[in-house]
């Protein structure tokens, strides 16, 4: 890439995405006019074209990446088309899971972080939908089923650990933001599990009692000393503030009777925790300017 690389790259990406979605919308808006074969033919031709560009086209890395991303999206379009034409009624999670499995080889060869993240998002969606379909009895949005968050936590934490291991041992070039997103998607489920445990102390959530402190300690140790990243330490602070506040609220409000004093105490506790976190983070920031 020469000096004007950013614009070139932007145009490349916008062009690739626009072409992909053009195929999608062309089929959708001419549904009645197109027969079965033109519909499939069009999407498959676009798919072959995208893969062809990636394999034989320009040898530039970014062109191949854009082409593979477009091809991965087109696989999803093709699967959706298959579901629409033959209304066989597969469960939604199957679409996302099959999609993820089919594009895995391309994700592997593209060596492209954004595509990896998108792939992980597909798996997350598939898991989420799977438990929506086969999950338990609780329909509250945040416990839409019992096991979802455990599996999301396991999946995303594994991805984070593998990513960090690759950076450390294999010299993968993974940007810090990718790892931050992975850490966030591992932290949100475990925090929600812990909060669910506080609200509804059933045996199912009990492991959170052990896992959550371990997770916090690992986050602290990992991102304070091993690979300093203050953003993630701050994220851990937010998680802890949420959990402690909810625990206090449950003790003071649910179990005790509603007294004005307990609300003031909660406000003060949040203030102290927040201010403490800010002071501490500022001090860490002066120690290790990132």
């Amino acid at each position: 890439m020469r000096g004007g690389g950013v614009i070139d790259r932007l145009l490349l990406w916008l062009g690739g995405l626009a072409l992909t979605f053009a195929v999608l919308f062309f089929v959708a808006y001419n549904w009645a006019e197109l027969g079965r074969w033109p519909r499939f033919g069009l999407v498959q031709a676009a798919l072959v074209l995208a893969v062809g560009v990636a394999v034989w086209g320009n040898t530039q890395r970014w062109v191949a990446r854009a082409a593979l991303t477009a091809a991965s999206l087109l696989v999803g379009v093709l699967l959706a088309l298959l579901g629409q034409v033959y209304q066989s009624g597969a469960d939604p999670w199957q679409l996302f899971f099959v999609w993820a499995m089919l594009v895995l080889p391309w994700v592997l060869v593209s060596r492209f972080e954004l595509l990896w993240l998108a792939w992980l998002a597909l798996l997350n969606t598939a898991l989420w939908l799977y438990f929506r379909t086969w999950g338990g009895a609780l329909d509250v949005w945040f416990v839409s089923s019992d096991a979802t968050f455990w599996w999301l936590f396991v999946l995303n934490t594994t991805a984070l650990v593998v990513g960090e291991w690759g950076v450390r041992r294999r010299r993968w070039r993974v940007s810090r933001w990718t790892l931050r997103i992975l850490a966030l998607s591992s932290g949100v489920p475990i925090t929600l599990l812990m909060m669910t445990l506080i609200v509804d102390a059933t045996a199912f959530y009990m492991p959170a009692l052990g896992v959550y402190p371990l997770w916090l300690a690992a986050l602290y140790g990992g991102y304070r000393y091993w690979r300093p990243d203050l953003l993630l330490v701050a994220g851990g602070c937010v998680s802890l503030i949420c959990v402690v506040t909810l625990g206090l609220a449950r003790r003071l409000l649910w179990q005790g009777d509603w007294q004005s004093g307990s609300l003031l105490m909660l406000a003060l506790a949040v203030l102290v925790m927040g201010a403490g976190a800010v002071v501490w983070l500022k001090r860490l920031n002066t120690e290790t300017p990132s």
Binding site: A28, Y29, V85, V279
Partner: protein
């Protein structure tokens, strides 16, 4: 070269920028996420604080004047605290007090105007003033954000919501283009800029999800309302996104009488522990018009009469589905399918159904899904 240094320093000093006299290390700037954490915990504390005030001084809060004056007092107190304090704890406390004050003022204003456009215009003015005067970067940023949301709500109330993002974008661009124009105010401009940026993202998000925050009917009034789509396009130059699902056109939700019978049969024999999702087979009999009538649920391997068929069904969250729960057609072709009363299925040896076409009450073909 050296003789220019003092003059540069003097000019910087004149412009109000502090220059390190000796080589002391300046403390590094506070990262943005620490400010976010600060804003978040301040906001959380403000909610509890407000609850406390509401319980202690219920009579004051209930009267409009009372909550307005109490809110104003808290804002003034927060302002004073911001001015006096240099510590993080003090700034934190001031932020919480100010947010609680804002909520009280907003509460008082709601009593006056309900949720009309006036309310949002006044809130916009309030947040604008706070963004200008409050001596805290976190607060400036938050107020700029709140102001942009208030602007959106105010405009949306007069059915001009699509203009809001353009106006905010205009302000945002103007701010960032003039970031270094006032040397003493660079941090202020940055705080406003970040706040407006987040506000813009939220506004766009609301617009794309169909305005989930708007619980009212926007009535189009006057010439301005008629002009809004044009204004919005001219300012943002973004085509409106079709709020329908990204994946293709329209569909018709299907619910077959057979599904209801299967569901009833399942419910009648089911105990509480039964799963809400399962796969199974039903036995149907075809009458002389080849319309399937529910016979029974299939139990194990049973022999079938010549006019009976095994049919695979899927129970999902207490809804029985035969093959699919939706029939897909091109956008705008809805009328053609409105009289649909029957669906035609192909069934293979395993009893797996495939929806082929929809038919009206006379069994005439309306449209096929597989051509």
């Amino acid at each position: 070269m050296t003789h220019k240094v003092p003059s540069l320093r003097a000019r910087l000093h004149q412009a109000g920028i502090a220059v390190n006299e000796n080589d002391t290390q300046a403390s590094p700037p506070i990262p943005w996420f620490v400010r976010v954490l600060q804003a978040f915990s301040g906001w959380l504390a403000a909610i509890f604080l407000l609850g406390f005030i509401a319980m202690v001084a219920a009579s004051v809060v209930e009267s409009t004047l009372g909550s307005l004056s109490l809110g104003a007092m808290m804002l003034l107190a927060a302002f004073g605290l911001f001015r006096v304090t240099r510590s993080d704890v003090g700034e934190h406390l001031a932020l919480a007090v100010s947010l609680a004050g804002q909520l009280l003022v907003a509460w008082g204003l709601v009593n006056v105007w309900e949720t009309s456009a006036y309310l949002w215009w006044v809130l916009l003015g309030l947040q604008g003033v706070l963004a200008l005067v409050m001596p805290s970067h976190t607060h400036r940023g938050f107020s700029a954000f709140a102001a942009s949301v208030a602007l959106y709500m105010a405009l949306a109330m007069s059915a001009m919501g699509s203009v809001a993002s353009g106006v905010v974008l205009l302000a945002l661009t103007a701010l960032w283009l003039n970031e270094f124009r006032w040397p003493t105010r660079i941090p202020h401009v940055q705080a406003w800029g970040y706040g407006l940026l987040v506000g813009l993202l939220v506004i766009q998000g609301m617009a794309h999800t169909g305005g989930s925050l708007l619980y009212f009917d926007a009535q189009a009034t006057g010439i301005w309302a008629a002009l809004t789509p044009w204004l919005g396009v001219a300012l943002v130059a973004l085509a409106p996104v079709d709020p329908r699902s990204l994946m293709q056109g329209d569909y018709m939700a299907l619910n077959f009488a057979l599904s209801n019978e299967i569901r009833r049969a399942l419910q009648s024999r089911r105990d509480d522990g039964a799963p809400r999702s399962r796969d199974g087979y039903a036995i149907v009999r075809l009458d002389e018009q080849r319309v399937a009538q529910f016979q029974r649920l299939a139990e194990g391997e049973s022999t079938l009469d010549h006019d009976e068929r095994r049919l695979h069904y899927r129970l999902r969250n207490d809804q029985v589905r035969l093959a699919t729960d939706a029939f897909f057609f091109q956008e705008g072709h809805a009328e053609r399918y409105e009289p649909a009363r029957y669906g035609r299925f192909r069934i293979n040896e395993d009893g797996e159904p495939l929806l082929v076409s929809l038919h009206d009450s006379e069994l005439d073909l309306l449209g096929a899904s597989v051509r």
